[in-house]
Amino acid sequence: MIRFVNVTKRYKNNLVLDKINLEIPKGKIVVLIGASGCGKTTCLKMINRLIDQSDGKIYINNEEIENKDPIKLRRNIGYVIQQVGLFPHMTVKENIEIIPKLEKFDASVITSRTEELMKMIGLDGESFMHRYPVQLSGGQQQRIGVARAFAINAEIILMDEPFSALDPITRLQLQDELMTLQSELHRTIVFVTHDMDEAIRIADKICIMNNGKILQYDTPEMILKHPVDEFVKEFVGEKRIWNQPDMIKAQDIMIASPITAHGDISLLRAVEVMRTSKVDSIMVIDSKRELLGILFSSILKKGDGIKWEAPISSIMRKDYPTASLTDSILDLLNVFNSENVSIIPIVDENKKLLGLITRSSLITTLSQQFLVDEVNDND
């Protein structure tokens, strides 16, 4: 949809953007994030040609934007900026309708569109249309700003830190409303922010920038879990992941090579393995590593009736819950609580054993966030 190819921006000797390559897919929200001066706003303003690149090319739908009339280009791109983007001398209605009117859309179409938008952003048209921006709260003003961007049926909407001047509660509301709007309208939204929480909440993809370069461009989950370097790691914040526990998956925290044994070995041998490996259970598998059952050391408490020579497949437990790789830490906790088990094997759709989660390994994982805290506190 939008494609940056080797885009460079120089102000005299100051390199602002250094050979940026970026593809923004249609209908997605892409968040550009980074510290101030990283070039994220410059990138954004290049899309509607408020800033022209020094080098490289930018394509929208495979058309080079340099060849387009900037006025026409901009009229097909919604633009929302921080806080003061409304024209103070115009009413809410006039603000929303300015571009449709300049484009000489049909009056009835404009009116119905405006009313529709007012509904979408949750403001009562009757009591707000005729008012002036000064008569609105910050949140209401920015809702109008967003409405204006959507008023022209633009495929692309650029948002330059649109919510950063709002209080946290209003900001959350507007983020939710933006998501609702987006779920209905499916626009390509390029969103600049410096707030990582905001980025993770709304983004389909996040583009982390620093010093005019893209450090990592990926889904929020991937960025949280696999930051490419120390800078990104620090920028994202080590603990950030704990705000998004549903992004922590079984595969991230499981014991990847649990102690296993084939079903036909004897209990005596199996106990020997448990003793040397210092575990209290063994995953019983077949030759294809398919999980057959679990042998718990508690079986030994039966005392005299223990058949030491019997194959473990005859005495293992067969009814136990399992989980898949993509189950989140929340899912796992649910299983532990409802089934009252101490371990959960992780298997694939063919019941092939992939790993193991134990209560103690889960505690170890969960405690990391506090341990990190302690380490940081000691710094």
Partner: protein, 559 residues
């Protein structure tokens, strides 16, 4: 002790005398106020006419200043490089004394309303240009950024965003200009554009306080009124949402009411502008074919003579006469008649001979002056000089009676012996004229302790207040008697003869030869004494030059 008692005894007397003088002050004050109002009542029609003229001129000048200043302001704000030359030029214009600027205007634009409006407009320019640029520059950059970002063109941004938002600031500039313009427009009378300045400057010439006030007070009130009106306009043009005085109503109907009111005000302002332009436009239409424009200087005698000429023309020709009297000075009048702005002027022979033609002034007879002038005007400027009207209103040196008695001063030669210890006050023109101070000093071998030039009637006020010791007067001036001065005899016959002559553009005279017949009826008819009496009537009894001219001509059977 007795002194002490005496002191207390005196107190009642002191108090009474204090209250007496206070009472006297109020009586005097009351008398002057009554006489002022009488004057206003008598001249109300003329005053209203001048006021109307003044308003039209000022408003027109402001409109032109807006039409030029606002685009310049836009230019300055848009192209930063144009800031220095444009603001610089406006600053320089502002620094030029208004009289000098008026002087520059005459060779370029002639006389009348045009140069007056241009002069005032140039002064009005700076605040408008500056405020326009400031207003446009001070708009939030983010707003302009977003306007550009959503795809508005430069012109759309200018007219839909920048302009509405900057309008209050621009209007504040216009308001400053409007107030200045009203004041400056009083100078317009110098170049025959009319307005309240006629009252003020003629009043100064005639030392007629009522007349000065009748011009000055309305122009003050007019300035205040302008300020008030423009403050209202400033408020109206402020976008409803940016008015700081009260909180906006939330109801649709109330907001609509405000919007409607604003719209109506805009229409009213527009209409007012159209009316002003229309009125000035109609006045500026070329005069009809058979119209003759007559002009004269701005002091009492010149005004009287101008009216005499007009009355004669009206009585004895079928021409339509336009009285553009009361212009400020010989050279301005010469410029005006030379450029065809006026057709006839009344002038003094020696002024033409010395000031306009710069002829040698030593040992010349009045006949020589007249003949030379007539010849040169005809040959060099194609202007016809008719026969002179008799009296000789030349210069004379006058001193306070006390001083004349103390040193037994009878002639200028007597005064020349002691003049180096005394101050001398000529008119500004006199100081630069060959037949003025330069020649006078040479002829009598005299010098002065200090030369304090002043114009018109102010000289008399100055000598009366002992701010100077000797002044230049005119021989037909009634004020010499009024201020109890002694005129010193010009024993070396230095001063040139100042005979009144009508000057006519030759082409006009060729077309309407009857003009010469009409004006020649006054040839040689007026005496110094008569003229002095007429001046006295105007200056002391508050008669208008116009009515006196009519009366004089009727009584003596000239019309």
């Amino acid at each position: 002790m007795t002194n002490f008692i005496q002191f207390f005894k005196d107190i009642p007397n002191e108090v009474t005398s204090f209250f007496d003088s206070v009472a006297q002050f109020f009586r005097d004050f009351y008398a002057s106020v009554t006489s002022f109002f009488d004057y206003i009542a008598q001249n109300s029609e003329k005053l209203l006419g001048l006021l109307g003229e003044h308003i039209m001129l000022s408003v027109f000048a402001i409109l032109v200043a807006i039409l030029i200043g606002v685009p310049l302001g836009i230019l300055v704000s848009r192209y930063k490089k144009s800031n220095k030359p444009i603001i610089g030029a406006a600053n320089v214009i502002q620094a030029i004394p208004s009289m000098a600027l008026l002087g520059f205007m005459i060779p370029l634009f002639g006389i009348g309303a045009k140069p007056a409006i241009i002069m005032v407009m140039l002064y009005a320019l700076l605040p408008i240009v500056k405020n326009t640029a400031t207003g446009l520059d001070n708009i939030d950059k983010e707003i302009l950024d977003v306007a550009k970002g959503i795809g508005m063109t430069k012109l759309q941004i200018l007219f839909r965003i920048q302009f509405p938002l900057a309008l209050p600031v621009i209007m504040a500039g216009v308001r400053i200009s409007a107030v200045t313009s009203v004041g400056l427009m009083t100078l317009a009378s110098y170049i025959g554009a009319g307005g309240l300045g006629i009252m003020i400057y003629s009043g100064v010439q005639m030392v007629n306080t009522n007349m000065i006030l009748a011009g000055a007070i309305p122009s003050c009130f007019l300035a205040l009124l302008m300020d008030f009106i423009f403050s209202k306009i400033e408020k109206v043009v402020t976008p409803i949402s940016m008015r700081s005085n009260k909180t906006l109503p939330e109801k649709k109907e109330d907001l609509d009411k405000l919007r409607k009111h604003r719209k109506r005000s805009f229409i009213a302002i527009g209409l007012a502008i159209v009316v002003c332009i229309g009125t000035v436009g109609i006045q500026a239409l070329p005069e009809s074919e058979d119209t003759i424009v007559v002009s004269s200087n701005d002091y009492a005698e010149a005004l009287f003579l101008g009216h005499v000429a007009c009355e004669l023309l009206e009585a004895h020709t079928d021409l339509k006469v336009v009285r553009n009297l009361g212009m400020g000075g010989t050279l301005i009048l010469f410029e005006a008649i030379n450029s065809g702005e006026i057709d006839i002027q009344i002038e003094y022979t020696a002024s033409m001979y010395a000031s306009v033609l710069s002829q040698p002034v030593e040992n010349v007879t009045s006949d020589h002056i007249f003949k030379t002038t007539q010849q040169m005007y005809k040959d060099e400027y194609n202007l016809a000089v008719l026969d002179h009207w008799g009296f000789n209103n030349t210069f004379a040196v006058a001193v306070q009676k006390d001083m004349a008695e103390q040193f037994n001063l009878k002639t200028i030669s007597d005064f020349a012996k002691i003049s180096q210890n005394y101050r001398f006050t000529p008119s500004f023109q006199f100081t630069t004229r060959n037949d003025g101070m330069i020649g006078l000093k040479k002829a009598y071998d005299m010098d002065f302790k200090e030369v304090i030039p002043m114009d018109g009637g102010l000289k008399y006020t100055a000598i009366d207040n002992e701010e100077t010791d000797s002044i230049i007067v005119y021989t037909t001036d009634s004020k010499v008697d009024r201020f109890d001065l002694v005129v010193l005899e010009d024993d070396k016959e230095f001063f040139l003869a100042y005979h009144t002559v009508p000057i006519i553009r030759q082409e006009v005279l060729d077309k309407y030869p009857e003009i010469a017949d009409a004006l020649n009826r006054m040839a040689g008819e007026l005496t110094d004494k008569q003229m002095s009496l007429i001046n006295f009537e105007i200056e002391m009894n508050g008669r208008t030059p116009e009515e006196l001219a009519k009366e004089f001509l009727l009584e003596n059977g000239y019309i």
